[in-house]
C-alpha cells in the first residue's frame, strides 16, 4: 500500500483526504463498538416489569448458564446449525468442484443457477418447504401415490429434520460460491503436476486440491453456520417444539417476555459459543504456503468414456450434478405454481388455474406500501453504502492507517455476528440514542452489514490494481478528484456495481434484523411474515414470483450492458 503525496491542486480529493480517516473511526465507534458495548452492558442490568433497572448484576448469566433447558437449547442450536452447514457443504462442495473443474461452456450458467435462489425471498423459500413437508404436502402426496407410505406422515414438518433441511437449503448458495471461488484459483498446472507425479484422481484431490481449497470451504461453512445459528424465523416456521432454537428464546425476550437484560446475556453466551465453533473450523482449515496465481485454473478434460463402466460413472455423475439443482429449485417452482392455483389454501392437489392473485396485488394497498418501503430502504441503504464504501476502501488502499487490517475486520464484524444478536444490539443502541422505530432505524441497521460487504469488494479490486495508475494520473497533473473520476472509477466500476447489487439483495430480503427495527411500518418481508402468522393470501406467492422473474431479468440485462472493467489486467 502506498501513501500518496498531497495533490497538486485542491478539489474534492483534498477534502476527502482530510476527512476520511476520521470517518472510519467514527463508523467503527458508532456502529460496531457502541452497540456491542451496550449489548454487553445491558446483560449486566436488571429488568423489572419490562423496564431496565440500572443496577449491576450477574443474575442474567447465572440464570442462563444454570438452567438445564437453556444449556440443552444452546447445545441443540449449535448442533442444528452445524448439521445444517455440514449438509450444505456436502452438497455444495462436490457440485462446486464439478462445475469448476469439468464444466466449460455452461460454467457461468451453472454458477448463476445456484445463486439465483438467493434473490427469492427467504421467507417464501421457508414457506415453500412447509408446503413440501406438510401433512398434505408435496412429499407426502408423492410418497402415498407411489405406495411408499400408506397414509401421509406428520413426521416431516415440525421437526429438527425439517429445520436442518431448510437451513441447509438456505446455505447452499453461500457455501457453493466460496468453495467455487477457491477451487477456481487452484491452477490446472498443479493438478497436472500431481498426475505427472503418478497420482490418480483421488490422491490428486486429497493432496493438492483439498489443501488448497479447504479454506474457501471453511469460509462458506462458517457463513452457513452463522446464518443458521442466528435464525429464529426458520425454526419457528418449520421446527415445532422439537426444532426450537436459542434465537427464538432471545427474540422473545425482546418481544413478549420483555426481559432485555436476560436476552442480552443469552446473546453474549451465544456469541461465545459461536466464536468457539468458528475458531475450531478455521483452525481445522489452516494451511500453509501462498498460492501464486501464475496461471488460473482452466477446465480439465473429462476423458471420453470408453468402457461400459466409464459410461455408467459418467451417468452417475450427471445425475449427481442435476440433483442439487432440483433441490434448489423445487421450492421456487412450488411458489410459482401456487401463485396460479385457484385455492386459498396452500396444499395439494391443485384446484385450478387463476390469475386472481396477480390481479389482487393491485388492490392491496398495504402490500404496495410495504413494497415501496422496501425499495426505499434498499436504495437509500445501497446509495449510502456505496459512497461510504468507496471512501473507506480508498482510505484503506491508499493511506497507511495504523492497524489497517484490524480496522477492516472491525468494520466487518456485523457481517460475522448472528443476525439475532446484531438486531438486538442495534435496537438497544437506537433506543439509547433516541432513534425512533421506522425507516431510518431500518436503514441504519441495514447499513451496518451492507456497507462492509460493498467496501470489501471494492477494496479487493483496488488492491489488485497497479498503484502506478494513480501515480501516473497525478504525475500527469490531475488532482485526486479528476484521478478518481477518469482513472480509478472506470477501473473499479464492476466491483462497485457488484457490491451494490449484492447489498441490494441483502437489504431487500432481510427479516431477522429488520423485524426488531420496524415499528408499525413494515417492509415487504416483514409484511409477509405477519401475513404468514395471521392469515395468508396467495397474492404473496404472486408478488414473489414477479420479483423473482424481475430480478433474474434485471441481472441478465446488467450483465450484458455493463460488460467487463475497462482494464487489461485479469482479476
Amino acid at each position: 500500500m502506498t501513501d500518496l503525496p498531497p495533490p497538486a491542486t485542491g478539489g474534492f480529493g483534498a477534502l476527502l483526504r482530510r476527512v476520511s480517516p476520521l470517518t472510519v473511526y467514527l463508523w467503527l465507534m458508532a456502529l460496531v463498538v457502541l452497540p456491542n458495548i451496550l449489548l454487553v452492558g445491558t446483560s449486566f442490568l436488571k429488568s423489572s416489569g419490562g423496564v431496565l433497572v440500572y443496577e449491576p448484576t450477574l443474575a442474567n448469566y447465572s440464570r442462563t448458564l444454570a438452567s438445564g433447558t437453556v444449556q440443552l437449547l444452546i447445545l441443540r442450536t449449535i448442533s442444528t446449525a452445524f448439521a445444517a452447514a455440514l449438509v450444505a457443504a456436502l452438497i455444495a462442495f462436490p457440485l462446486a468442484f464439478y462445475v469448476s473443474r469439468y464444466m466449460k461452456r455452461w460454467k457461468v450458467v451453472a454458477v448463476m443457477l445456484v445463486v439465483v435462489p438467493l434473490w427469492i425471498s427467504l421467507l417464501m423459500r421457508v414457506f415453500a418447504w412447509r408446503i413440501i413437508l406438510g401433512e398434505n404436502g408435496v412429499l407426502n402426496s408423492f410418497l402415498v401415490s407411489t405406495g411408499l407410505l400408506t397414509e401421509p406422515s406428520d413426521a416431516f414438518l415440525y421437526s429438527r429434520f425439517a429445520v436442518i433441511l431448510t437451513l441447509a437449503y438456505m446455505a447452499i448458495p453461500y457455501v457453493f460460491v466460496s468453495s467455487y471461488t477457491a477451487l477456481e484459483r487452484v491452477p490446472q498446472s498443479l493438478i497436472e503436476a500431481s498426475q505427472d507425479s503418478g497420482a490418480g484422481l483421488w490422491n490428486t484431490f486429497r493432496n493438492v486440491v483439498w489443501p488448497l481449497s479447504k479454506q474457501g470451504l471453511a469460509i462458506g461453512f462458517a457463513l452457513a453456520f452463522l446464518l443458521a445459528v442466528g435464525d429464529y424465523i426458520t425454526p419457528s416456521m418449520v421446527g415445532g417444539l422439537d426444532g426450537t432454537m436459542l434465537g427464538m428464546v432471545i427474540a422473545s425476550q425482546f418481544g413478549m417476555a420483555g426481559n432485555w437484560p436476560l436476552g442480552a446475556a443469552q446473546s453474549v453466551v451465544l456469541i461465545a459459543a459461536v466464536s468457539l465453533v468458528l475458531g475450531l473450523i478455521f483452525w481445522l482449515a489452516r494451511s500453509r504456503g501462498i498460492l501464486q496465481s501464475v496461471d488460473a485454473g482452466t477446465g480439465a478434460e473429462l476423458r471420453a468414456p470408453q468402457t461400459l463402466r466409464d459410461h455408467l460413472v459418467l451417468w452417475l455423475v450427471r445425475v449427481a450434478v442435476v440433483l442439487p439443482y432440483l433441490f434448489l429449485y423445487l421450492p421456487l417452482i412450488i411458489i410459482t405454481v401456487f401463485s396460479f392455483n385457484a385455492s386459498q389454501i396452500q396444499t395439494l392437489p391443485l384446484t385450478g388455474f387463476t390469475l386472481d392473485w396477480y390481479v389482487a396485488l393491485w388492490g392491496d394497498q398495504n402490500l404496495i406500501d410495504a413494497f415501496q418501503r422496501t425499495m426505499i430502504v434498499a436504495l437509500v441503504t445501497v446509495a449510502l453504502s456505496v459512497v461510504v464504501g468507496i471512501v473507506f476502501a480508498m482510505v484503506f488502499a491508499y493511506r497507511n492507517l495504523p492497524f489497517s487490517r484490524l480496522l477492516q475486520s472491525g468494520i466487518a464484524i456485523p457481517v460475522a455476528i448472528p443476525g439475532i444478536v446484531l438486531g438486538i444490539s442495534i435496537v438497544i443502541t437506537a433506543q439509547l440514542l433516541g432513534i425512533q422505530p421506522g425507516i431510518w432505524r431500518v436503514i441504519i441497521g441495514h447499513m451496518t452489514f451492507v456497507m462492509p460487504v460493498v467496501m470489501l469488494i471494492i477494496l479487493n479490486r483496488l488492491q489488485r490494481l497497479d498503484p502506478s495508475y494513480v501515480q501516473a494520473s497525478l504525475d500527469l497533473g490531475a488532482d485526486y478528484g479528476q484521478t478518481f473520476r477518469h482513472v480509478l472509477f472506470p477501473m473499479i466500476r464492476t466491483a462497485v456495481l457488484g457490491g451494490a447489487l449484492l447489498g441490494f439483495t441483502l437489504s431487500v430480503d432481510e427479516v431477522i434484523v429488520t423485524l426488531f427495527l420496524t415499528g408499525t411500518e413494515p417492509t415487504l418481508p416483514i409484511y409477509v411474515w405477519n401475513q404468514m402468522r395471521f392469515g395468508f393470501t396467495p397474492s404473496v406467492n404472486a408478488i414473489f414470483t414477479l420479483i423473482g422473474v424481475a430480478s433474474v431479468v434485471l441481472i441478465l440485462i446488467a450483465m450484458i450492458v455493463i460488460g467487463p472493467d475497462r482494464d487489461q489486467e485479469k482479476t
Binding site: 498446472s189 497436472e192 498426475q195 493438492v208 498460492l291
Partner: protein, 354 residues
C-alpha cells in the same frame, strides 16, 4: 535394455492434434533415442507445448500413436506413464516444502517409505538445493523453485524427462547457469530429455538433436551442426542463426549453370542447382579477407551495425542486398557509402527445398 536393440525409446507416429477446427499440430513423426538430449524448437504458437503434452499424457492426440519403450501409450493417463514434466510455471505445490514436493512422486508411486528420505536428499543434492529443503515455495527465488521442480521431476527416475521452456522465466545470467546444470545433470543421470524452447542458442548448445517446428509442422530434424550448416528450407535457415536467402532463377546454357538473383549472378559448379539458397551472414567475407573466394563481387556499404564482437554489414549490390557479418576491429571500421569487395565460397551456399 529391451528397446536398445529394438529401436527408439520414444516414438511419435503421425501424431496430430486439432482443437475444434484449428489444427494445432499437423501429423508429425519423431523418434527419440535412449539417453538423448532432444529439443523441440520453434517460434511461439508452433505446437511445441502441444507435442510435449501429448507425450506427457495431458492431451490425447487427434490422430497417430505414441510409443514408449515399445508400448503404445497413446491413451495411457499421465499418472501411469513413465515420464515426468518440468513445468514452465514450475507448478510446485504451494502448501508443501521443497522436500515434500520432491517426495510427492515417490509417495504416489508407492516407493517404500524407508527409501524415500534418502532419495529425496539425493535428488535435492543433485540440483544443489540441500540448504533449502525445508522452505515453502513462496520462500524461494524463481531460480531456486526451478531447481526444486527439476528435482521433483527426476527423483522418480522417469524414462523420459519432459521440460517445457524451463528457463523461460529466468534472467539471462541464471539462465546460462541453469543450462550448464541441466546438461551436466542429464549426462550424470542418463535420463532421456525432451526439451522445449524457442531460444535457438539454448537448443544449439544443449541438444544432441533438434526438431525445428513451425505452424504445427515439423520443418527439420537434425543435429545442431547439420541444422546450422545444412538447413532444409528457408524457415530453418532464417530461424537458426542469421542467413541471407537468395532466391532467383537457374539458367543452364552452354554447359554452365547460373543462379541469377537481382544484381547477383553466380556460376554454380553443380548442374542440379536449386533456385533458392541460404547464405549465412558470417560466410560472406569483406575486404582483403574475400581474396580467393569462389564468388567475389563489389558492393557499397548500406549500413553497418556494431554488435560488440562483430559488425553486421548490409551490402548494396545495385538493387539487391546481402548482409555480412565480420569480426569487429578496433581500427578500420566500415562506414555507410564505402565501396567494398566481398566474397563467399560455394560450399556455404546451402540449396533450399522450398
Amino acid at each position: 535394455m529391451l528397446n536398445k536393440s529394438n529401436g527408439p525409446l520414444l516414438r511419435l507416429d503421425q501424431v496430430s492434434k486439432a482443437y475444434g477446427s484449428y489444427q494445432a499440430l499437423q501429423p508429425t513423426s519423431i523418434s527419440v533415442d535412449e539417453g538423448e538430449f532432444f529439443s523441440l524448437l520453434g517460434p511461439s504458437g508452433c505446437g511445441k507445448t502441444t507435442t510435449l503434452r501429448i507425450i506427457a499424457g495431458f492431451e490425447v492426440p487427434s490422430g497417430g500413436t505414441v510409443h514408449l519403450g515399445g508400448h503404445d501409450i497413446t491413451r495411457t493417463p499421465p499418472n501411469h506413464r513413465d515420464t515426468n514434466t518440468v513445468f514452465q510455471s514450475y507448478a510446485l505445490f504451494p502448501h508443501m516444502t521443497a522436500a515434500e514436493n520432491v517426495a510427492y512422486p515417490l509417495k504416489m508411486r508407492k516407493v517404500p517409505a524407508s527409501e524415500i528420505p534418502a532419495r529425496v536428499t539425493e535428488a535435492i543434492g543433485q540440483v544443489e538445493m540441500s540448504k533449502f529443503a525445508e522452505r515453502l515455495p513462496h520462500e524461494m527465488s524463481g531460480g531456486q523453485r526451478q531447481r526444486i521442480a527439476l528435482a521433483r521431476a527426476i527423483v522418480g527416475r522417469p524414462r523420459v524427462l519432459l521440460l517445457d521452456e524451463p528457463l523461460g522465466a529466468l534472467d539471462l545470467k541464471l539462465r546460462e547457469q541453469m543450462q550448464h546444470v541441466l546438461v551436466h545433470l542429464q549426462r550424470k543421470i542418463g535420463i532421456t530429455f525432451v526439451y522445449v524452447t524457442h531460444d535457438q542458442g539454448e537448443a544449439l548448445s544443449m541438444s544432441d538433436r533438434i526438431a525445428v517446428m513451425s505452424g504445427g509442422r515439423l520443418q527439420q530434424l537434425a543435429t545442431p551442426r547439420d541444422l546450422y550448416y545444412q538447413p532444409a528450407n528457408s524457415f530453418v535457415a532464417s530461424f537458426i542463426g542469421k542467413s541471407n536467402v537468395i532466391s532467383g532463377t537457374v539458367e543452364t546454357n552452354a554447359g554452365r549453370t547460373v543462379l541469377r538473383s537481382g544484381a547477383l549472378s553466380i556460376q554454380m559448379p553443380d548442374r542440379a542447382a536449386k533456385p533458392k539458397a541460404a547464405l549465412r551472414y558470417e560466410a560472406i567475407a569483406i575486404g582483403p579477407e574475400s581474396e580467393g573466394r569462389d564468388v567475389v563481387f563489389d558492393a557499397n556499404v548500406d549500413d553497418a551495425l556494431f554488435l560488440g564482437n562483430s559488425v553486421e554489414i548490409t551490402l548494396d549490390l545495385g538493387g539487391s542486398r546481402l548482409v555480412a557479418m565480420a569480426p569487429s576491429q578496433r581500427d578500420g571500421q566500415v562506414r555507410p557509402g564505402d565501396p567494398v569487395r566481398a566474397g563467399f565460397n560455394f560450399r556455404d551456399l546451402v540449396p533450399l527445398d522450398d
